[in-house]
Amino acid sequence: MLKFKHSLCLAAALAASVATARAADTITVVGWGGNWDKAYKEGVWDKYTELTGTKIVQEEWGGELAKVRAQVQSGSVTWDLISPEAPSVEIGCAEGLFVPLTPEITGDPSKYLPGTIMECGVASDTWATILAYNADAIQGEGPKSWADYFDVEKFPGKRGMLAQAQYTLENAMMADGVAPADVYTELRKPGGVDRAFAMLDKIKPHVVWWSSSTQAMQNLASGEVVMTDQYNARVTNDIVNEKKNYKIVWDAGFFYGTDMWSVVKGSPNEKAALEMLKWFSIPENQAGFSKLYAYGTGRVEAAEFVPEDWRKNLPTSPEHAKFGATYDTAFWVENKEALEARFKAWQAQ
């Protein structure tokens, strides 16, 4: 029954987009480059071009909001659809740099995972920072929680940890027994951040800090560390392509973050870009990306269209999503600079 309902919606939506899009449109889509762009091209955009004749030009950027600001303020907007990180969308939307999206474009907002839909954007990819360990380096039972990750007596060996406050404070709070959903409530309380730092104090001598994920995976492979925090797709990549014996501990709890698709205000192809976003908001179309890349998207049902043996790698799959909570972009937009400075000072002590 459910399946039938989907295909009906799908057919209606497809018919609508085909009818309205003009064949001559060219949309400039700005993504994160590399395999990410490739997955979007092969899994999503090529299908849309085939369906509507709309040409899609891919460009690459590093997420710098200042570039969007410059385009909008100078009135020469060359980007149509771009993928900024969620905090940048939050800021840019408030500043009026992005086009607000209506439910007519995005579909019912309640059908999205929390945090994957915003006033001016829908998730282009939903990634998670997870706890991973090297099953060759840990004999017997592996760690089951962030508390285990912080427990060097139970699991001797160094820990890999991302050298920044964002994501790390969340992990420390989970290790201190806070459920993912309550982490930001606790962090916002007076002394909440101190509590996270106190937790980090305990593990500090056992940490090998990393700043690029390649470095972190190298440390895990070489035995420099026995477990690490990491972006989930990076670990999956090494398990699948390099046959590594790594395990992702999804049920330890994890936070997921999103990059968004947003339409730049004043884009020359605003209408065509919105039309394409409308097509993208259909779960099956979103799944085209997740089939090729171990990140989820926004619509809850999108995971259903991903083959089961690959779905287990996605943070948005039904069996994992229940252990995750979304990063609080508003919290980090305002606190990032101050907390990162404090974190650096703490690191250097």
Partner: protein, 393 residues
Amino acid sequence: MLMTLLVVPLVLFILVIFLWPVARFLALSVDNSDISSNLPQTFAAIGDWQPSQGPPPEAVLAALVGDLANARHAGSDGVLAQLINQRLVGTRFLVIKTARDAAEGRLDERPVKDALLAAHPGWAEPALWTEIIRARGPLTDYYLLGSLDLQRSPAGGVEAVPADRALFLNALGRTVWISFIVTVLCAVLSLPLAQAIVSAPPRWSRVMFAMVLFPLWTSLLVRTVIWIIVLQKNGPVNAALVATGLLGEPLTLIYTRFSLYVAMVQVLLPLMVLSLVSVMRRVPTNYMKAALSLGAPWLTAWRRVQLPLIMPGILAGSAIVFVFALGYYITPMLVGGPTDQMISSYIAFYTNTTLNWGLAAALSVQLLLILMVSALLFWTARAFMRSPAEATQ
């Protein structure tokens, strides 16, 4: 005359491509125009009012609403919000949302106080107004003080920031110290190497010279990352130490000050060798021979005859190595630990990640000052060296 004309393009080039942008960037360390030019009416309305006298007067709030509406229309509300949030964390969305409401006419009723404070109660905070009043004027010392771990106290004086936020003085000291040690290590290692290159038969000399230059043509990143693999826990160095029984357990070599020195010395050594070789080639070998034949022990002869003659090369090489080392940040980030990070990494962080260009510029000012002082020191040393050396000739 012709010579002067020929130099003009070069001078213009340096001025336009180098000095002008650097000066512009450094000016950001005291520039406050993004705040002062966005809140002109507000600052005028504030006059002598202080937050300690009670809630902000109606005239101030009305001026604020007007200013924020203008900023919104000009597209500068985002920058303003970011700057105010730097000074008082947690105010970014307050400013942006108020600007949006102001621009869309939702705060037009009079008295504005009721509408504004009902929708955005944050504007009743005395702390916020203290920061705003402090930020008036076209220039600010906020960033320069911040880059020295200082801040303005509530009373207006200068005080140290709390210990858990003190960051930059340590980093500056560390940067100078690491650069100094790297320079000394490079000099000590280069002396025998350069001497060997100069003394070897021409064919071998060329081969050795090429071997020194070869790494210089390899990507910095490759040379740095290789050390991670060589020095890691199960890497070749540790494996060899354990296999030969010198160690029971592998040492932590990577992500330490030690690995940072190793990587930086390896990267910068060729620069020192190059300047030493060029000077040593010009020193006749008979001087050392003469000193030795007159009965001086080798070390004395080297110290009193050879060393003064090659000193200009050591100084030039040291100056180059030291200056290059001061600006390092990718190498410390990749092979150093958290206590080995250098000042440039903070400049990069504030430039790229948080877009706090004021603080980045203030830190750059300090780096530039260190550079100028060290240049002056090298220059003075060079001047002192010259007199005895020239006297012997």
